[in-house]
């Protein structure tokens, strides 16, 4: 009854994507979560595919994800609202133009096409851009989807293949015997599997502590909002150098994310508290500065999520030799778009011990000299507040 081939801890997008692919490959998979499906990072994501053109280790995985997105609706059988019209970074001041040029330089290290464009070209892509627009950095690749739909699509598709999701069930530890994983200890008793995949965001660190692993992830609370629906205006993913990302949803709402960011702790027993703060008013102000037409809309809904940032802001995909059968994955604040690829990589690593997905350089080895005090040193410890 309580035996599975694979137990995935965490029902966020990474966990669900991993579970979906493993179940589809024939394994019996359980996804377990202390809270509800996709209620932390996955419900707060902007919904962009981040082409990590500045990072030679991540760029190939992002490229793999890009191809998967094209057919994801058909693959899963549920709508994701994927739109591939590119992404546009926009500068609104001379200072931001300089930053944009720096970003451009970093992005040319990979072979995704990026170009610096002038204000008029920016307005061809987003006609509602402010008159203050100075310049943009555009890539026709990349795109965006509805994060809640995507998470739910993976969850339902996983269940359609016979997978099981257990919500509201805290996991306290990974059970190990003689160097091998045996399962997990939960609030509702022990559950057994010879392979356990940790996709629990910041809580990964706590589950890995007993194995002497310093897992370099910090959790941060971020806020998001949507306006009432507006007529269709643009389709690219907008990133303002004034500090917020805005996409227009298929329904017409403007959906925005941005700082500041409060670093938090997570525990085993409950979904972290995710309150909004008055800072949503500053987000609104920035949205109006970028898109003056937003003045004509209403603020409809705000919410917050927690997401996980790794020490080097790069994805972690790792399979442990000791104990055998233990694996871990973490996004790094931009895991959403890469999740379809990460799920395949994790599923293959879990079931076969190897994968053809381009995950070189994404293991934990790169942190071998990490200071145990890294969070405090970086001011990423709980309670620290960054704008």
């Amino acid at each position: 009854m309580n035996n599975y081939d694979v137990i995935v801890v965490g029902s966020g997008l990474l966990g669900l994507s991993t579970a979906y692919h493993a179940q589809k490959s024939g394994a019996r998979v359980l996804v377990i979560d202390r809270g509800s499906v996709a209620y932390e990072a996955s419900s707060r994501a902007t919904g962009y595919l981040s082409l990590r053109a500045d990072d030679p280790d991540e760029a190939p995985l992002a490229g793999m994800a890009e191809k998967l997105w094209d057919t994801l609706d058909e693959e899963l059988g549920y709508p994701t609202e994927w739109t591939q019209k590119g992404r546009l970074w926009v500068a609104f001041s001379d200072k931001q133009v300089e930053e944009l040029k720096g970003t451009y330089k970093a992005f040319t290290r990979a072979d995704f096409g990026f170009e610096l464009i002038d204000a008029d070209a920016c307005r061809k892509l987003i006609p509602i851009l402010s008159p203050e627009t100075r310049a943009g950095l555009y890539t026709p690749r990349s795109g965006h989807a509805n994060p809640q739909r995507v998470s739910q699509a993976f969850a339902w598709a996983f269940q359609d293949h016979g997978g099981t999701i257990l919500e509201h069930t805290p996991v306290y530890s990974v059970i190990e015997e003689a160097g091998k994983v045996k399962g997990v200890k939960t609030k509702s008793g022990d559950l057994y599997a010879e392979r356990v995949v940790l996709c629990a965001g910041g809580y990964n660190a706590k589950l890995l502590e007993p194995f002497g692993v310093l897992f370099p992830v910090a959790t941060v609370r971020l806020e998001a909002l949507v306006t009432t629906p507006l007529p269709p205006m643009y389709e690219v993913g907008f990133i303002g150098l004034n500090g917020l990302s805005i996409r227009q949803t298929r329904r017409g709402n403007l959906h925005a994310n941005g700082g500041p960011h409060e670093w938090v702790d997570v525990d085993a027993d409950s979904e972290p508290n995710k309150p909004n703060t008055p800072i949503v008013r500053n987000l609104v102000r920035r949205m109006i500065e970028a898109f003056p037409v937003a003045k004509g809309a209403q603020l409809l809904r705000t919410w917050a999520g927690v997401l996980d940032i790794t020490r080097d802001q790069k994805t972690i995909i790792h399979r442990f030799d000791h104990p055998e059968g233990l694996l871990v994955a973490a996004g790094a604040g931009h895991g959403f778009g890469m999740a379809p690829a990460i799920g395949i990589a994790m599923s293959e690593l879990t079931l076969n011990g190897a994968t053809n997905a381009p995950i070189k350089g994404l293991g934990l080895e790169r942190f071998s000299t990490l200071s145990p005090n890294w969070k405090a040193e970086k001011q990423w410890h709980a309670g620290s507040y960054n704008t």
Partner: protein, 488 residues
């Protein structure tokens, strides 16, 4: 004496009573009330179900202010007693230090008026947010002329601005009779009462009044359909016991006065713990013996709290006087077993009206599409949809409305579920056999009313916020807009 800063949300009878008592005790009191609302904001059907047939004369704001104030005597008394009365002001959010949000400083309420927004710091926050209409769907319920009993009474008595002249009333509750009496006093006609049981719910005296007035009472009946081209012109009433026994009732207004439910958006969204009160039936804030919610210094006073001296008790707690004996919290709603009454309406309307009736007006989703968990029509069709709304394994809630709204968008429209969330939960309960208390309600979010972007935008975007915001990984700065100037 040095008074505390008390902010009261809601100039209801209880809100005003609290304000006066707190002033008398020497506190500094601000009383915030969203009425008179702007006409366009009323179209979001909050706090009441105004429907789409609002009179254009409501746009005369001077008249609206005069009428709303002059019809609220306790509020005028508050003005005279130096309560800082803020009318036409929405308390859109409230903020306090809590887990994962440690930089708020002094607790504060976000308020927004026609001019802009500000944050009011408080020592105690009293939520007297009143109740709202429960209006289940039926064919034609989106037509101008359909509105809730609370909305109808408010428009008639407070705004003194009402479009209809011949009103069919659904339900025979005290609210239904209150509206009917107010309407008759103003010379309007009541085309009838529609009641699914064989008893007049408000009681014999009110039933006798209705008969004396010559108002037809359709017992053991529900509405099948509201008809009209651009406005309600008639209603089809169907008997539940007879076979296909329908009658047409001529009317220009359909007042739905089946039940009222507590307004909990603000306490829910600010993180007050909730519990399900079977007697109402609705989610309400968990309260201690002094009506304090689980958030410190936040109190909830309500006619749904079945205690006479709640104002005195809560005020004593704010004053630090804990001498009063503990009181058992009881929740009540008008009449016997309102839960059964609400359930009866929803199930009979569903049985007679079928699955094709629009459940979610904002997103145009039918009952059938919702219960089958269909994606919305603007997404491409032909994809699968899950066939079972029940989740959660053997622990936790059995159905999550949040999960369903992600798929169907029911509850995600501009009314934010104010029209549909309760009926949606009841329909789920009836369809999947899960008790209402096991249906996790959709999250409540700030702002509790949609707010013009230009009004909610921060004016106090200080230098640090402005310059440091985009570089959030690197430096620690608490912006003034979060902490307030005192915390810097």
């Amino acid at each position: 004496m040095s008074g505390k800063r008390i902010v009261i949300v809601g100039a209801s009878r209880l809100g005003c009573e609290f304000a006066l008592a707190a002033r008398a005790a020497g506190h500094e009191v601000a009383l915030v009330d969203e009425h008179p609302q702007e006409l366009k904001n009323m179209s979001f059907d909050a706090p009441y179900f105004y429907g789409s047939g609002l009179p254009a004369s409501l746009s005369d704001e001077t008249a609206a202010f005069d009428n709303v104030l002059s019809s609220n005597e306790p509020l005028l008394e508050c003005v005279e007693n130096e309560v800082d009365v803020k009318v036409g002001v929405v308390a859109w959010g409230a903020f306090h230090n809590a887990a994962n949000s440690q930089h708020i400083g002094t607790p504060k309420v976000g308020v927004v008026s026609r001019e802009g927004n500000e944050l009011l710091e408080y020592d105690a926050l009293v939520l007297a947010t009143g109740s709202r209409d429960f209006v289940p769907s039926f064919k034609g319920w989106e037509l101008p002329g359909v509105l809730g009993g609370k909305a109808a009474t408010k428009l008639l008595v407070s705004y003194q601005c009402f479009n209809g002249s011949n009103c069919l009333v659904l339900g025979t509750t005290s609210l239904a009779v209150e509206f009917a009496r107010a309407a008759r006093e103003r010379g309007l006609d009541i085309a009838g009462f529609v009641e699914p049981t064989s008893a007049f719910r408000a009681g014999q005296a009110d039933e006798a009044w209705a008969r004396e007035q010559g108002i037809p009472i359709h017992f053991e009946s529900v509405i099948l359909e509201a008809s009209g081209t651009d406005k309600v012109s008639s209603a089809t009433v169907v008997r539940l016991d007879g076979e296909d026994d329908k009658s047409e009732v001529t009317c220009d207004t359909i007042c739905v006065a089946i039940a009222e439910l507590p307004n909990i958006e603000l306490p829910a969204a600010m993180g007050c713990g909730l519990e399900f009160a079977e007697a109402i039936p609705a989610w309400v804030p968990i309260l201690d013996a002094n009506f304090q919610t689980t958030v410190p210094d936040v109190y909830w006073v309500s006619t749904f709290n079945d205690v006479d001296d709640q104002v005195a008790r809560a005020l004593a707690a704010i004053d630090g006087d804990e001498s009063r004996s503990a009181v058992q919290q009881k929740r009540t709603a008008e009449g016997t077993n309102p839960a059964e009454y609400i359930n009866l309406w929803v199930s009979k309307l569903s049985e007679t009206g079928g699955t094709g009736v629009i459940l979610c007006q904002c997103e145009t989703v039918t009952r059938g599409e919702f219960l089958d968990l269909q994606p919305p029509r603007y997404l491409k069709s032909g994809l699968r949809h899950p066939h079972d709304a029940v989740t959660g394994g053997d622990v936790g809630p059995k159905i999550s409305q949040d999960l369903l709204k992600r798929m169907t968008r029911v509850g995600m429209g501009h009314c934010q579920g104010k029209r549909c969330r309760d009926e949606a939960a009841i329909l789920l309960s009836q369809r999947f056999g899960v008790p209402l208390k096991d249906i996790k309600p959709g999250s409540y979010r700030f702002p509790v009313r949609p707010i013009d972007m230009a009004l909610i935008a921060a004016e106090d975007d200080d230098y640090h916020t402005r310059e440091k915001w985009p570089h959030w990984m690197h430096e620690e700065v608490v912006p003034e807009s979060v902490a307030g100037s005192a915390q810097r």
